[in-house]
Amino acid sequence: MSDEALLARYRRAQRRRRWAVAAAQAALLAAFLLLWELAAARYWVNPMLTSRPSAVWQTLVSMAASGSLWVHVGVTLQETLAGFAIGMALGMGIAVALWWWPALAAVLDPYLVVLNALPKIALGPIFYIWLGHQWSVYGMAVAISVVVTIVMLHAGFSEVEANQVLVMRTFGATRGQILRKVVIPASLPTVMAALKVNIGLTLVGVIVGEFLSARAGLGYLIIYGGQVFQMQLVMTSVVILAVISALLYLAVTWAERLVSRLLHLPVRS
């Protein structure tokens, strides 16, 4: 058999494999939904406790029709994106400061370790008291993402090839030039990894923040649905949340690919 024929056969096999995986994934979801629906319909489980896909769908449709769906999704999205942006900007600024003044990094190191280990959710009530119901969600979102950002980026900055920095020093580069022209571009893969981690963490912060204090948003809907024992509302909110988090993660992944391509950096998975 010729090489072309072998290659064509190999490619066909690869394509078949990809299709098979996608089909299996779709089938798994369908089977799960079907089983859920069936179990609730036949009272194998109590539908009061589990709700059911058809009820979730109806809730979704009626919420979309009444417009409340968009309000809650909008609130959660806005809080997440704002918290994400603030957390990243703040974290990046502090990481740069720690790189700039190594003595500062040495002094703050144990505090960062403790803050990083602390479950930020424990700070929720404090933010509620300090910032009120409107702003405490943002406090939660930023608190949960900023420390990780600082730790990740500072580690990334410190791992930049020392000899690339040396090349700059032999030219007499200033610290600012070394930062702009080497440390930041070399750390972009780390920045991208931090973005990926943070988009998920910020969403956690926002939902927890909404649990504690909000009057709107998906976290509020989930808590409210639980309190009034409307499981279809809880389940619907969870499904929407799953979709939103997947989309946000995808967006960050796309941004990462784009940046890597533009800067000719190896794509880190």
């Binding site: 690339q164 040396l166 090349v167 032999t170 030219f171 007499g172 580069a173 571009p185 000719h264 950096l265």
Partner: protein
């Protein structure tokens, strides 16, 4: 011979670390005159690279003086180009952009720097790769790009820290010839650090042998070949005088120290 371009006067340097003090250089004196190609050979850990860092102004001596044309070195100078063992090119910049980093950092006239880089890329056969990214280059091409980057600031002194050591043998010999010819036609003063005696003899006008740590100058060898012109490095390796120099320097060279090899 006039005033030396580079002079070290009784230079000592001690590295301080939490684990203790390590003396890398103990009273090194040497001089390199304008247009000369001088090599420093020595076992690992003899402080060869430390000498280059001192001349580049990245390190300050613990004692003694480092002078460029009679002026003490206080920091990195536009007159000194420093080429490291490996290229350390920036993967996010094209070859041309990599080569322009020096002029960029030093705030030089960029139009002139561009012209100079284009000319140097042509001389090193990299014109076709001017807009390529380092990832697309072979090891030899990357090292050529690093040479162009070093020369882009138009230094009159060139410090080479084992610039061929990361290359395969064939590439090493070819690049040594190329670089030698280029630096000679550009009238650069060159100080090369290496542990490869053949490389030192074939490229240099003078070879300085450094002792094991703490490094001091053990002997200096003038390299002369018969004939009206200095043979290119590849030819020099086959010249009748070569093996005499090789054996004399080999006999001078201390066996490598076993401790803390990274103090090179």
């Amino acid at each position: 011979m006039g005033r030396p371009r580079i002079a070290l006067e009784e230079v000592s340097l001690t590295y301080l670390t939490p684990r203790g003090a390590t003396q890398a250089l103990a009273g090194v004196s040497l001089a390199v005159y304008p247009g000369e190609f001088v090599s420093i050979v020595g076992p690992s850990g003899s402080g060869k690279s430390t000498i280059l860092s001192l001349i580049a102004g990245i390190l300050q001596p613990t004692a003694g003086r480092v002078l460029l044309d009679g002026d003490p070195v206080t920091g990195p100078s536009q007159r000194v180009g420093y080429m490291l063992q490996r290229d350390y090119l920036f993967e996010w910049r094209t070859v041309t952009e990599n080569c322009l980093i020096g002029p960029e950092v030093q705030g030089q006239d960029m139009a002139r720097a561009r012209g100079r880089v284009a000319r140097l890329l042509q001389k090193t056969g990299l014109t076709a790769f001017a807009d390529a990214y380092p990832g697309q280059l072979s090891g030899g091409m990357r090292q050529r790009a690093a040479l162009v980057r070093t020369l882009a600031i138009d230094p009159d002194i060139l410090l080479l820290d084992e610039p061929f050591s990361a290359l395969d043998f064939q590439t090493k010999l070819m690049l040594a010839d190329e670089m030698w010819s280029l630096l000679r036609t550009e009238h650069k003063t060159v100080l090369l650090v290496t542990h490869d005696i053949s490389e030192a003899i074939s490229l240099s006008d003078r070879v300085i042998v450094l002792s094991r740590r703490p490094g001091r100058v053990k002997s200096v060898h003038e390299i002369r070949f018969a004939g009206p012109e200095r043979p290119i490095p590849f030819k020099a390796r086959g010249a009748p005088e070569y093996s005499g120099y090789f054996h004399r320097i080999w006999a001078e060279l201390d066996p490598p120290g076993e401790v803390n090899r990274n103090v090179g």
